[in-house]
Amino acid sequence: MSGSVNDYEKCSLSGDLDKDIALFKNIFKRDAVLRIREVSVGGACRCCLVYMDGMVNSAQQGETVVEALVEATLPKNLQPTAKYIAQNILFANEVGETKSLPDMLRAILYGDTVLIVDGSSSALTVNTKGWRTRGIKEPDSERVLQGPREGFDEAAMFNLAMIRRKLLTPDLCIELMRIGRRSDTPVFICYLGSLADKNTLKELKRRLAKIDIDGILDSNYIAENIRDHKCGILKTTGATERPDIVAARLLEGRIALVVDGTPVVLTLPYLFSENFQSDEDYYVNFTAASISRILRYICFFVAVSVPGVFLALVTHHFDLLPTRFAISVSRLRVGVPIGSAVECLALLLAFEILKESGLRMPQNLGHALSVVGGLVVGQAAVEASIISAPMLIAVSLSAIAGLMVPRLSSAVLYLRFINVIACAVFGLYGFFAVSALFLLSVFNISSFGVDYTASFARPDAQNMKDIFIRAPWPKMLTRPRFNKNKIRKGNGI
């Protein structure tokens, strides 16, 4: 027994209600929330409802199933079948008939009610889902000042409805896959049939089918399993909690993965330039959006390079500093007991600790922590000559700049540390070597067969319209380069 519902593939209902009830009781023998309720249909036929307490909408179940069954009037000498009950008695909107025991178990576990009829080897699955959801809220990590403010929640069906509300077209395809041996998590593949690349879709399904894992509790379980470079520092699948972003990605010919139980939806293929795009870029004036985007590129460079380059300058290349600045740095470092390299690494580590503890703290304590950690401890450490002010400034500048590119946070973290170590050992040569290796790796990776840097491949005006700047909407004539169906406007589809 693998623990999956598929273990019961070879079992089926016997048609004898008592035996079938015993079968369900046996399957869920250690589950205290399973409910089995026997009902008589019009006083002539026995049947029973099998469901999970807390997962069904009791009022809806009572009205559309129980009341309908109890108050039904059957023609004389009729032994009702499951099909007859579905067509003539139940009030429920969504009723399915199945002979497959795994399908019945899935329905029960997903909040539906299974109706077993005496004398019938098939059962009815009635949609009575009623579990609580968090509701539509603006995602904390993707707040915007202007534009839609709705975010996904943990119920995949609601999330799919939110996407569909944005794209009112029958071209929107939604395919279901179940992943996780024990969790049997529904994963929905969404794409626009006329825009999505067939090969990418095929490759995605192949990779999804290969996932062999006990359970999927978040979309990151899938992201890490399907990514092209398992140990790379750059992510090759996008993640968002906003339906407008997913809809925009689908319109560019990308594919979205909606995983039940998490508000985070994956989009792919994912390109390097997407790390610098923000949701708000498309909702504000293009001039402001373009400046913000250029700032993000600059901030990425600053976040990655400033601590390392500053360290290289004050430990290897004094000649590149103006004399007065060098003397000023020298003065401020007098009395600091630790070397510049260790000081820089320690400050970076302290910043990461502050960031991590700030995330785990209750929100109202977070501000106090930043004041205590950033201002009080920082200033006290400088005054006590434990650290020097210039290094604190360099690391803080890098830390602040890093916040501008949240999608590259892990890459920034690693590159920052690698740069500092390389600069401490080799000076600026180390910095240029690391930069060259990083660029090589960026240009070497791909996301589902699409070059990660496809956007930079041919620097023509149309291709650059949404890379370093955000062109005005009337000028955005084509979809991203990886999409074979390029034309977005005019005669295009």
Partner: protein, 189 residues
């Protein structure tokens, strides 16, 4: 296996080179000018260094350090003995030599300067009658080195690198600009 071997070699390379050239900025004096003098048969070296000022929070002060010996290395050794910190020559703006050096002694001085591997090769070279008096003169700019730069930067290409280039080509040596002190002011003759 191959990957592991490459990574191991790279890590070893990093650790074996032992942070070559790593220096702490506060553990040294910034030399702004070097002077070479001749005292009977001895060589003398006079250095002007800049360090943070004790009185002004954001200012700097210049110090004169000197040493002498039978050879330039011996003179430099004496200078080093009197110091508690290293000497950083990256910000050296001027090399001043005494007028009474012979051509062979000048070559020796240039060799010595070449061996100071961190020396700023764009430092200007000048000559004077009395190096010590020049270094000890109080100028408005505080640093003698930078006062000399201001004085001679427009008087032809007299940088150390250019002088070296001419020596290598065995060209006739250019006449170095002469700097002197008159009423506590540096003057180009």
């Amino acid at each position: 296996m191959k990957k592991t071997a490459i990574i191991s070699i790279l890590i070893s390379l990093i650790s074996l080179c032992g942070c070559a050239g790593y220096r702490e900025i506060q553990r040294g004096y910034f030399v702004t000018a070097i002077g070479f003098t001749k005292q009977s048969n001895d060589f003398g070296i006079v250095l002007e260094t800049l360090s943070p000022s004790d009185t002004e929070p954001s200012g700097e002060k210049s110090n004169i350090i000197s040493g002498s010996g039978k050879t330039l290395d011996a003179a430099y050794g004496e200078v080093n003995q009197s110091l508690t910190k290293s000497l950083y020559f990256e910000h050296c703006g001027a090399i001043v030599v005494s007028r009474d050096f012979t051509e062979s002694e000048m070559s020796e001085i240039f060799d010595f300067c070449t061996n100071l591997y961190t020396l700023n090769i764009d430092a200007y070279v000048a000559q004077t009658d009395d190096v010590t008096a020049l270094f000890e003169s109080k100028t408005a700019d505080e640093s003698v080195g930078y006062s000399i730069i201001g004085l001679i930067k427009n008087a032809g290409n007299n940088t150390f690198s250019n002088q070296l280039y001419q020596i290598k080509r065995r060209d006739a040596q250019t006449v170095l600009p002469t700097v002197s002190v008159q009423n506590n002011t540096l003057v180009l003759e």
